[in-house]
């Protein structure tokens, strides 16, 4: 990480990332509620309930955590100042939640064109605002470290994902005469490998060496990120113009995933904190990236088992994506709370340690609940009609525990904040 541009003065107020993180936990709860009715009795990747669940997880849970973390990382690690936090809340947070709700509702109500179009407009507006804040800020920032450059790549991929999503909605509602399936596959690829994988790759280059005390990721990790964007572009062009040649860029996309997984494993083996919950969580993230990537690659040639695309999505989004974001939240959120309160100059003894905000035992329990959730989800992908209740209950339990932890942290934060105000007023 570039030391020169590490700036806590540019950090957004605590409530800005916390709003995104809180909304993510509520979306996780919503995901559990959406799973309760057994609408999908057999594995079908195009079932409306599955599309609603995928977007509730991808946009509601992961999107919120990633956006909140991105705003924080952009400010602190890349010097992109958050001057108008209220405007960012209005321009990103609110349309993001409304757009996700309309999209999920639109899928569940028979692909309602009005709901889907309104959702696409709101989500595009939120994503353009986020991308403008990030890309414009990064272009003006002197930070040139791997995380900053990686975040820029992820934001570009997010923009492309959103535009492809808008085109999909307009095509579905008959407004645009574009080929549906190439658009759909491109949208999925840019979201999963562009936005999610590239952001995990960028953020892990700061978080893993810092919290697990490993050597830094090598310089070629950034080149891997650029290669992913080029291969994604090649995949989209192949999908549109040369579908017979898609196997080549799609197969090549496995190489960056494999390279990142191998490199991360090598670093984890050199970690000085192998007993840290994050160490185990990151092992799981890497395993799920490989499982999800291989399953997605097999989907194109082996269509006999309809559960395979569902498993690929679950392991990629739920295993790697949710695993990574929950693991990073467990480290970043208590540190943020501690850091913001520290800057208020509290009297000695008033400020608890970061582990006082969220103990490692809680992170360990969260990891176990996530593993159980993943197991229940795997069974659900295999036989949705039989295991939907188990998966719904596992989701609700995970969401409830995350909300309890978030609530405890928020109460502790407010108590210290009030005590500092009282001691200053005296």
């Amino acid at each position: 990480m570039s030391q020169a541009w590490l700036s806590y003065d540019d950090a957004p107020p605590f409530w800005l990332p916390a709003s995104f993180f809180g909304a993510a936990m509520l979306w996780l709860l919503t995901l559990g509620c959406l799973l309760l009715p057994a609408d999908m009795l057999a594995a079908n990747r195009y079932h409306p309930q599955l599309l609603a669940l995928t977007h509730a997880l991808g946009l509601g849970v992961l999107g919120n955590i990633m956006s909140g973390a991105l705003l924080q990382m952009l400010a602190v690690a890349s010097g992109v100042a958050t001057r108008h936090a209220g405007r960012l809340l209005l321009g990103i947070f609110l349309p993001w939640q409304a757009g996700t709700a309309l999209l999920v509702g639109g899928f569940l109500h028979g692909f309602s064109p009005l709901a889907l179009q309104a959702a696409a407009v709101l989500l595009c507006a939120a994503i353009i605002r986020l991308a403008w804040h990030g890309l414009y800020g990064l272009a003006r920032s002197p930070a040139r470290d791997a995380s900053s450059r990686g975040m820029a790549l992820a934001l570009v991929a997010l923009l492309v994902t959103a535009l492809l999503g808008l085109c999909l909605v307009l095509t579905l509602s008959g407004q645009l005469p574009l080929p549906l399936m190439p658009l759909l596959h491109s949208h999925v690829l840019w979201a999963a490998l562009g936005w999610l994988f590239l952001l995990v790759l960028a953020v892990s280059q700061t978080v893993i060496p810092m919290f697990l005390i490993t050597p830094p990721y090598p310089a070629w990790t950034l080149i891997t990120g650029r290669a992913v964007l080029v291969l994604l572009l090649a995949c989209s062009l192949a999908l549109l113009f040369w579908p017979e040649q898609l196997w080549l860029p799609a197969s090549l996309l496995l190489i960056p995933v494999l390279a990142y997984a191998v490199q991360s494993w090598r670093l984890l083996r050199q970690s000085r904190r192998p007993a840290d919950p994050l160490w185990w969580q990151w092992q799981g993230v890497i395993a799920c990236l490989l499982l999800g990537g291989m399953s997605a690659w097999l989907c194109s040639s082996w269509t006999a088992w309809p559960s395979l695309p569902l498993l690929a999505g679950l392991w990629w989004l739920g295993g790697a994506g949710l695993g990574a974001t929950l693991a990073m939240l467990g480290k970043i959120l208590p540190f943020l709370a501690w850091l913001h309160l520290k800057r208020l100059n509290p009297p000695r003894g008033l400020l608890p340690s970061t582990h006082g905000f969220l103990p490692e035992s809680a992170q360990l329990r969260m990891r176990h609940l996530h593993l159980l959730w993943l197991l229940a989800g795997t069974l659900w992908c295999w036989q949705p009609g039989r295991f939907h209740l188990l998966f719904a209950l596992a989701t609700l339990e995970l969401a409830a525990y995350a909300l309890v932890l978030g609530g405890k942290l928020a109460r502790r934060y407010r108590a210290v904040q009030r005590a500092v105000s009282a001691s200053t007023a005296r």
């Binding site: 590490l6 810092m210 005390i213 000085r272 904190r273 000695r348 340690s353 582990h355």
Partner: protein, 70 residues
Amino acid sequence: MSPVDLRHLAPPGPMEIILDAAEQLQDQQTLAWILPHHPTPLLPLLTAQGIDYRFELSGDGGVILFISKA
């Protein structure tokens, strides 16, 4: 003065200990700790408190951080 080894602590424990000690630092006093690596996130916070810092290599893979009042 022998530096205190903080390498066994979970991050950001060492950061909390050093910032706490920096608040109570007396004029002319120098404190030192052994850390597992260069403490990048800590440095802007020390600068904001008006603390000078310098580093030495510990010789066994760590970094020794020295702080004193600016």
